[in-house]
Structure formats: C-alpha cells, structure tokens
Amino acid sequence: MIPAKFAYARAESVDDAVGLLAEHGDEAKLLAGGHSLLPLMKLRLATPAVLVDLGGLRDLSYVRDAGDHVAVGGLTRHHDLEHSDLLGEHVPLLREAAGHVGDPQVRHRGTIGGSLAHGDPASDLPAVVLALGGTLVARGPGGERTIAAADFFEGFLETALAPDEVLTEVRVRKTNGAGWAFEKFNRRAQDWAIVGVAAVTGDDPGVALVNMGSTPVRASAVEQRLAGGASATDAAQAADEGTDPPSDLNASPEFRRHLARVLTRRALERAGVQL
C-alpha cells in the first residue's frame, strides 16, 4: 500500500512550518513520527496534498523540569518518555503509559505531540494528559497560545488546533507523592486499548478514560466521589457515567462500560485508594 501522491516539504523551524501551513491551509498536514498519519495515508483515508515534515526539528524533543510542572517537547518520542528519569521522578504516570503505546518499533518513531494532535480517543497518551490536567502549547501565525487539555479534544480525530498551528509543548503537573496507575485492556499486546484508564489520586485526583467516547473523556463523577472520600469500589461504579462508548468488533458499548468500571477500580486500588 502506497499513499496517494503528495508534495513534501521539510520544515527548517517551527515558524517555517507555520508559514507552510498558512500557505496551504486545509490541504497540508504536519508529519511528526508519522505513526498515526502514514497508516491512514496508506489506506487513503487521509490524502493531504502537502506534507510538512517536522522530523528535523530536534529542539522540539526534550523533557524539562519547569518548577511546578514538567515540560515535554512536542516531538519527544514515546521511547524517550518511557526512559525518562525526570518523568520517573515527577510524572511516573506519563512514563509508564508511554511504554504501553504500540510496540518498541512504534515507540522509536511516534511522538507525544503527534499522538495528541491526532486526537484518537483510543490512544493512550491523550487520556493521560487529560487525567494530569495538562496544558498544551500551540504556535501559529499570531504567536503562541496555551490550551487546557480539557478543551483540546473536540471530537473524533478533531482537536482545538487550528490548521496553521503546531503543537510545540505539553506541560504536565508534577504528581510527587500522589498515587497513580495506568490500566489498559486489549486482546493482543501491541493493540490499541479496548478500554484504558489513567488515574492520579491524592489531593487533586484526576481520572480519564481511553476509548469510551469520540474523545478521551474525564471520569468527573469518579473524581467527585474520590474527593468526597469514597472507596475505590464506590468511586469506580461511576466510571462510565456520562460516557458514550463505541461499538466495534472488540466490544459492545455495554462491555466497555463494564470494563471501565472494573479497570477504574483496579487503577484506583493500585493508586492507593482503599477498596
């Protein structure tokens, strides 16, 4: 399978990429690691006329201590996240979840910015960044703006990014001392989650679900119950509240609701909440 014809341009800088996007509008797509976009292009489900390759922008690959939060460059690969000592110390949930994305070959290419900008509700990292209450930094022709993760995912493969914006950085709070867990249920090791749960407990609990709707969704009812001192079992009963899980070959909506409750209970238990 070969993608449909496209014109290729290598971005020399973020501003250069923004310029190319501004010039070509909806016709252009950004290429980071390519592990979401290229499979779609090979199936001709995506046929961009212009591909702007960000691959040479190595200065967008970093994990930095920024005081109260950790800043992750948009082009940081899953492989680098899963081996980051800084994340291990301050945001272990992100480090752990990155190691569950795809397989080693995928993690050698795929990037956090690409995964978030793709906006697939079945991907692991969008839910993780949502659970952490992260902030995304986008640069466009008018300069830089920040977008709360809660406002970023708008629909199936749709995000708040404008067609001429580049996702340059992801900021996640340090969770030092808080409990955390990532639970993922799938049939085969390398597959997308049928359902997944990312959880941070402690004073400011955050719980988000993978593949329980057209976007990654925050399990607000679980968070409220946790804040009210509920047990893991009681809090997890609310995991599927307000969700609209998809139906596919892997699972019916009912089965997904069941999985969400079970996986949330397991995640909360692992994260230190009393059963």
Partner: protein
C-alpha cells in the same frame, strides 16, 4: 520556486554504504530498500505497522520500514538483515536463531532478528520476560515463539559478551 515537491532527493547510508537517489515523496523506506537499493531481505508482511516483518534499524533503533517515508530517513543510517553478517560470519543474533531453530517458514525472521538486535542493544542480556514483551511488535505464525525467545536470549548473551 515552491518549497514543496512531489519528488525528493534522499541520501541514506544503507549497511554502511552511501546511497543517493531521487524518489517520489510518497516512497516508503521498505520500497526504497527493496526496489531502489535492491536489498530484498526486508520483507513486507501486513503493510499496516502490525507484524514487524519489515523491521530495520534506523540509526541503530528498530523501526517498521513500511511506516517510514524514505524522505524521513534522509541523512540517516539504515541497517537491514543483509548488513548484519561480517562476511561469511553470522551476527551473534543470526547465529542464535540458527542454533536454536528460531524459525520455520522464515518470513518473519529478518524483522524478528532486527527487532531482537535493537532490543539487545538497548537492554543488554535479556530475560525471557523482557524478550516476550520486547518482541510484541513482531508476529510469527509458525513457531509459537518458544524457540525465537530462546534464540533471542542466547543472542543477547552473545552480544553482551562480544563487543557491540
């Protein structure tokens, strides 16, 4: 002149030798290796980033070459299964696959060996669990994996002993 173009010039070091070609931008790395450079050891299996048969090393790390554009490998170094042996002497991982009969039909083997080499380079001497998790991106429909796992453990041991 517009910046973007349907064709791109790529320079890729393949198994230590420089290659430079003008290709269509949509050329996948696996097609570049097989059809432009003429190295057909890298197999195309599923063509959907699942099976790992097309695994090669890009700057020393395993990637699925059906999901990388040749243009993305421009300026980088690729190692294929043809680049592992030293003359008539197998690479330790190849030797381990032969010794432990880590293959049956052989179709997944080039990708399996390349993924294993990458895994061993990152992890040193590997445990059975590390191998089973680390090869999650490579499918074999014949062996049931047991001999592959044995081979990769032995190969990683040999690689740790030999200079890398």
């Amino acid at each position: 002149m517009p910046r973007e173009s349907d064709n791109v010039s790529v320079s890729i070091v393949v198994n230590g030798e420089s290659t430079a070609n003008q290709v269509e931008a949509r050329t996948l790395l696996v097609h570049y290796l097989r059809e432009v450079v003429g190295l057909t050891g890298t197999n195309i299996g599923c063509d959907t980033t699942s099976c790992g048969a097309c695994t090669v090393l890009l700057d020393g790390e395993s990637v699925k070459s059906c999901t990388v554009l040749a243009a993305q490998a421009d300026g980088h170094a690729v190692t294929t299964i043809e680049g592992l042996a030293d003359g008539d002497t197998f690479h330790p991982m190849q030797e381990a696959f032969r010794e432990h009969h880590g293959l049956q039909c052989g179709y997944c083997t080039p990708g399996m060996v390349m993924a294993a080499v990458s895994l061993a380079q990152e992890g040193g001497k590997l445990t059975e669990e590390q191998v089973r998790i680390g090869l999650e991106g490579n499918l074999c429909r014949c062996t049931g994996y047991h001999n592959i796992v044995k081979a990769v453990i032995a190969g990683s041991e040999a690689m740790s002993g030999a200079s890398k």
